[in-house]
């Protein structure tokens, strides 16, 4: 049974504080025992740099971006990982129920239950889940928000190692309050907490001094969660199936009965 989220945790990413050291990407690999090998090419790669992508071995990256700010080129480093939506689309599309939310709000993926249909990959508004294309029995892979660490009261691996406190960990209310306080205290920030409202809100929150669109964040997302958006028609899925099954069963019984009667009549005619 899915847990009820009773203790929603968050990480607040202050993009102005990131120096691009990549500690978080190394912590993720250490804690999750993942190789630095690019699963497609077999080449050893760092998970931070100018051209980095999430893959089945790499659940978080820090992308080095050169963007324009006030007519000047500036560097910004953007950490990417699963946003851990409050109402995750991946979970809602998964008919195998391979996604669960933990009490701390981690959207946990269970490869044991996954049938490999990749609906979640299509559903995710942040393009996060990655497929193990290289395997015979592939799973989908993504950041688990270090769910076992969170359950033990620890912060996720990445947030615990950040030397500049660009990653802050706490309850979602605390982090939201901190985000707004930070934005108000310094006019360099854009007045937008990314993840506060996007697709119904996410566990991971970002603040920045550069427009989120320029930093590769999808900016056209609805405030309504994706599961809610499609709930209008997906809610009929089960009833439709049930009615269909009933109708089919009925038709089958009717057809069988008719066949038996016809057979009997045929016999009698003989």
């Amino acid at each position: 049974m899915a847990n009820k989220v009773t203790d929603q945790k968050s990480v607040l990413v202050d993009l102005t504080k990131c120096v691009g050291c990549g500690s978080c990407t190394v912590a993720c690999k250490l804690w999750n025992s993942q190789s630095f090998e690019n699963p497609q090419t077999g080449v050893m790669e760092n998970a931070h740099g100018t051209d980095v992508k999430l893959d089945s071995n790499t659940w978080t990256t820090v992308e080095h971006l050169k963007v324009q700010k006030d007519g000047q080129e500036v560097w910004r480093f953007v950490k990417r990982q699963c946003m851990h939506c409050l109402e995750p689309a991946c979970s809602s599309v998964c008919f195998a129920h391979a996604f669960h939310q933990t009490e701390q709000g981690a959207v946990q993926y269970d490869p044991e239950l996954c049938v490999g249909c990749r609906y979640c990959m299509i559903a995710c508004p942040f393009d996060v889940p990655k497929y193990e294309w290289e395997k015979v029995m592939p799973s989908v892979m993504k950041c688990q928000f270090c769910s076992s660490k969170l359950a033990d009261g620890e912060s996720p691996a990445c947030a615990s190692v950040c030397p500049t406190n660009a990653l802050m960990f706490g309850s979602r209310e605390e982090m939201l309050a901190l985000a707004h306080k930070t934005i108000e205290s310094d006019n360099k920030y854009i007045n937008h907490v990314y993840g506060e409202k996007e697709v119904g809100g996410t566990s991971w929150l970002y603040i920045s001094d550069v427009d989120f669109g320029e930093l590769g964040f999808p900016t056209n997302l609805p405030e309504k969660s994706i599961p809610k958006n499609v709930h209008g028609f997906t809610q009929f899925t089960l009833p439709i199936f049930a009615v269909g099954a009933l109708a089919w069963t009925g038709a089958s019984i009717y057809a069988k009965r008719r066949h038996a009667v016809a057979h009997e009549e045929h016999k009698n005619e003989k």
């Binding site: 190394v26 250490l30 008919f95 044991e112 239950l113 769910s147 076992s148 660490k149 190692v161 001094d209």
Partner: protein, 537 residues
């Protein structure tokens, strides 16, 4: 009909099989859909250092690691070896005051002075020098080129450690022999160009002191320190001596003066390699001020393809090259080879913190008074030792007391920069070495305990000063090749008394601070403060 019945009894009909499978599928799907199926825990079970096993709100003393440009010319990092122990950041912030001394967000640079202390503190060897070994092998194997190698003062008390000789073992002769066996065509000593630096930088100091120039004068031998000033104290750039570092003076004079002496008509066929205890030297040779028409040799020949220096190898890289070529050798028992050029022991002690100052004082005394210094100046105790900041005052007849300060470790240098900025500095000359202890403990020296220990620094320093106390130098005349018989042995503790220094000025450079000396032995600096917003301390 009978036959058909038999078949059915034997096993399962196709229809029955399909319905069983469908039933199992429906039950399974129903179980997962309702969430009844068992959940496995996919969360990480790996390892993280203990300081991270808590909530991030809890303070940890050491956290994360230094930001390092993947394109850094001096340093590379292998993420697979990184255990996030936090030692690199400790060295960078606490010892060197580089990380953490700029406001965030960053501008457009990974702030790094290339000192390489992080590579000495890194317990797993994840941070290492960017290797130039392949390039140097290629140069050596090219029959067209003359590969000239120079060795920095501090290399000879480091290299032995790589071959089990003990901390600070003197291995100058063995190193020269090894360099010749590796195939370097000419082996020269950076002690010589250290002497040249004393002549230029000392003359500059005398001029500033006697003619009222910008004071205090800051030494410019250490490329890590120079970049530190360019980043954090651009207002002190006029204080920096315009003299190049010894390595760079050597680079330009080797391709001009020595090329002629060696009978090399095409300077493009010379490849200058330096063995350095330093990783910032790898950055230094990449400075545009030393390339092509902006550089010394390039300008001299009006050829923008000539750079003053070509490759820098750390002491660790040299040890690797020796192992690659000569295998498992008994380095300690190598015959003691001799350089093709002579440097004084004043040049030798450049490798210690305070050494440049002591060598400069010896020769500045001569430049001002015309007499050699009194014996007390051959052992300037207050500027010796491993203290981070050392102050001394030297009485020079005709000038009065000259106040000198020596700092090593950039956090110490930062204090003095603040002192100068606030107008409280009353000294004339400041020597700074980025690495604590000076070049003998440079980022390119053999790795020792982690973090580097003072007893190792002290052992290396002692060897250097003991050698200076003996002051005996052996060498052959510059550019006349190895293996010749005219070995000169002399007591040489003064840079200005080096006969080959007299020779280079007589035959080529004319005089210290001459026009040609300016082009080949001096340089310019650039304001890098736009790369960061300095945090006020």
């Amino acid at each position: 009909m009978e036959k058909h019945k038999n078949l059915e009894n034997k096993g399962m009909s196709r229809r029955r099989f399909l319905s069983v499978m469908a039933g199992a599928g429906v039950v399974g799907a129903a179980a997962t859909m309702t969430g009844c199926a068992p959940v496995s825990d996919p969360s990480g079970t790996g390892w993280l250092p203990n300081q991270y096993r808590n909530a991030s709100a809890m303070p940890a003393q050491v956290k994360g690691r230094v930001p390092l440009d993947p394109e850094n010319v001096s340093l590379v990092r292998n993420d697979e070896k990184c255990i996030l122990c936090g030692q690199c950041i400790e060295a960078c912030e606490k010892v060197q005051s580089v990380f953490g001394y700029y406001e965030l967000p960053v501008h457009d640079d990974f702030i790094c002075v290339h000192c390489g202390q992080c590579s000495l503190w890194c317990p797993t060897g994840a941070i290492a020098e960017r290797s130039a070994i392949e390039d140097v092998w290629n140069a050596i194997q090219d029959p067209e080129t003359t590969v000239i190698v120079q060795t920095s003062p501090a290399t000879r008390v480091g290299i032995g450690e790589e071959f089990g000789m003990g901390a600070g073992a003197w291995a100058e002769g063995q190193m020269v022999t090894a360099l010749r066996q590796l195939g370097f065509d000419v082996v020269v000593d950076t002690n010589f160009s250290a002497d040249l630096t004393i002549m230029e930088e000392g003359s500059e100091l005398v001029e500033r002191v006697t003619k009222g120039g910008v004071l205090p004068q800051l030494t410019s031998c250490c490329p890590g320190w120079v970049k530190f000033v360019e980043y954090y104290y651009p207002e002190l750039i006029p204080n920096l001596s315009s003299a190049r570092s010894p390595m760079m003076m050597h680079g330009s004079t080797l391709k001009t003066y020595n090329a002629k002496k060696l009978g090399i008509t095409d300077p493009k066929k010379i490849v200058n390699v330096a063995i350095m205890p330093c990783l910032a030297k790898k950055f230094e040779i990449s400075r545009h001020q030393f390339h092509g028409l902006e550089g010394g040799a390039g300008k001299y020949y009006e050829d923008d393809t000539i750079n003053d220096m070509d490759y820098v190898l750390s002491v660790r890289e040299l040890a690797n090259m020796i192992r690659q070529k000569l295998g498992d050798v008994d380095f300690a028992s190598f015959e003691e080879g001799q350089y093709d050029q002579i440097g004084s022991t004043a040049g030798l002690i450049f490798g210690n913190t305070g050494g440049v100052m002591e060598a400069a004082v010896r020769s500045a005394y001569y430049l001002i008074t015309g007499n050699n210094p009194p014996t007390s100046l051959y052992h300037l105790e207050p500027v010796r030792g491993l203290d981070g900041i050392k102050r001394a005052s030297v009485d020079v007849p005709g000038v009065g007391p000259v106040k000198v300060v020596v700092a090593s470790g950039l956090a110490n240098a930062r204090q003095l920069c603040e002192e100068i900025k606030s107008g409280k500095a009353d000294f004339h000359f400041l020597e700074v070495m980025a690495c604590p202890g000076g070049c003998i403990a440079g980022g390119g020296q053999p790795r020792t305990a982690v973090p580097p220990q003072d007893w190792v620094r002290q052992a290396r320093t002692d060897t250097m000063y003991n050698r200076d106390a003996v002051g005996t130098i052996k060498g052959t005349a510059a550019g006349e090749g190895a293996g010749q018989d005219d070995v000169k042995t002399m007591d040489l503790r003064l840079s200005h008394a080096n006969p080959q220094i007299t020779e280079i000025y007589n035959e080529f450079l004319e005089a210290p601070l001459s026009h040609l000396a300016h082009e080949l032995c001096h340089t310019t600096y650039e304001d890098r403060s736009g790369s960061l917003t300095r945090k006020e301390v």
